[in-house]
Symmetry: C2
Subunit: 315 residues, 2 copies
């Protein structure tokens, strides 16, 4: 029994809504906001994290965090990018050494920006190791690319990647041909071009033809924690004679599927959840999912543009 | 000093957010939900409406509404499409006769569906005269069409309508070439085709080439009341030799503008607010507004897909 498109959307955007139309309240709601020293909310902390933070805090003078029943915030002396970044690094190094959280075993050595400090022209308040972001429930940013071709008869086909079985996250699941987080040091477009080379062996000349067409947002919870995410979406109409090829070992192989085949694999839940959402957005923009054939059209559009109440990346 | 795209979005999506990131609480928050007999929330009632409802309710036995401090709902005997529709009609006829609300002077004789009754296969709980919908803060549905051409050099131009000075609403403002509410009796696609003929003299053959590409949603408050709205969005690449022409007197004239000219008129706030949002969505989907040139890219995408916590149209 295949899933509906809306089922697939709900598998990705699975964090409860406060107004409970979609999900009843759950233990996932037992979190408190994580604030900057300027009181801007930048994350959400589950009880297990709060307990570990309390322990860390009690051993460190002056206390780096103010931990109350209703919130945790940076102490007022931690009021710059450098100071916040350093204390978070020390904290994570400690937790990693002591193996407090399994999520930290997937250390990437990639720094992700957390926004919310208007004193900094980029808005970045501090940066944090990528694999730690679900522990703090901070908003992260990525970019996904729909690589497609249009046949001579005008039929759409999409290139799809199968993730290597050795990947630490979502091994063997289906994926967009290019997708990745946006590290602190790169712009959105630079990230697309870099990932296009690393993941699909696409030349700069090809990758530069990718065009930005919007963004999706959702809030997924996994065993790792809380992941509010925004993915910039790019479309790339590929020349028919260019095939994506695995380059860095993260992709097992690529498929070129017509829309029927593509939809079949979405509805059998073979895609990494957020990649399915990127494709559903593509199918809506290309009229394949439309108001006449999809009863959940409006709900899907709403859910894949979820409002995430955190400061966002600007340029 | 022209407005930014985000300023223009905020002029349309101007109802406060409950989490107050965008707007502080205001008297607009002093409303209570309007519920069906099954407790599904279908609207929001401002204090002035509640007072008038109380007066009407006290004169009518059995009372059609249950009016509490925290909500107003249909009495349990009003549990079918016909019964709810009839009592709302009687109520509005009374208010119209007694000139209780100026909004009702713009009577249209068009019935709009209110969703939320799953006992009915269409989901429609009752229908209501179009001009009364802002009094009840019920969700309404429309369809807007971007009529554009691509020149031989690949340059995009868009057809724009100037609303007649005699129109009761937004006279003289700029508009999409085809736009309108979706009446109870028509499907989305049927509405597009009907409006394309009535507003722009487009033949069925041309109008049928319009393709659905998504929907925008926002919550606007005007002097008339509270208007949470969803607009299905269609794009129509027009043949270069076809010009839209006024047909029913609602349009003064049409313009064909390149993207620079179009953006100039958006930023000087000459467009009816929701039409500006439809075009901003077009500009995002066509990479003209993009992450590299628009600091508010993510905020704009979020605001034009606002979550409206009411049951929606399905098919």
């Amino acid at each position: 029994m295949p899933y509906s498109f809306f089922d697939i959307v709900e598998k990705c955007d699975n964090y409860p809504y406060s107004d409970s139309t979609y999900y009843p309240s759950s233990e996932l709601n037992d979190n408190i906001p994580f604030l900057l020293d300027n009181d801007i909310k930048v994350g959400l902390l589950l009880p297990s994290i709060i307990n570990a933070l309390k322990e860390y805090n009690s051993l460190k003078k002056p206390n780096p965090f103010i931990i109350e029943d209703k919130f945790v915030k940076f102490a007022s002396h931690l009021n710059t990018f450098e100071l916040r970044t350093e204390i978070v690094k020390q904290l994570l190094d400690t937790w990693r050494e002591e193996k407090v959280f399994p999520a930290l075993s997937g250390w990437r050595d990639e720094l992700y920006p957390i926004y919310g400090d208007s004193k900094n022209p980029t808005g970045v308040a501090f940066v944090m190791e990528r694999c730690a972001t679900p522990l703090f429930g901070v908003l992260t940013f990525g970019v996904h690319l729909n690589g497609y071709i249009r046949t001579e008869r005008g039929q759409l086909k999409m290139w799809i990647a199968k993730r290597a079985k050795t990947k630490p996250t979502w091994p063997g699941w289906l994926d967009n041909i290019v997708a990745g987080g946006i590290p602190y040091t790169l712009s959105v477009t630079e990230s697309v071009i870099k990932e296009a080379m690393e993941e699909a062996s696409l030349s700069i000349e090809i990758a530069e033809k990718a065009v930005p067409v919007g963004a999706i947002s959702y809030f997924i919870t996994t065993q790792k924690g809380l992941q509010p995410e925004i993915q910039y979406v790019y479309d790339l109409e590929m020349p028919p004679d260019v095939e994506p090829k695995p380059f860095d070992g993260e992709v097992e192989c690529f498929y070129l599927w017509d829309m029927d085949e593509l939809i079949k694999h979405i509805k059998t839940d073979e895609f990494k959840p957020n990649c399915a959402l990127v494709i559903i957005d593509f199918l809506i923009r290309h009229s394949i999912i439309n108001p006449d054939n999809e009863p959940d059209y409006l709900n899907i559009l709403n859910r894949i543009h979820r409002r995430l109440d955190f400061p966002t990346k600007t340029i």
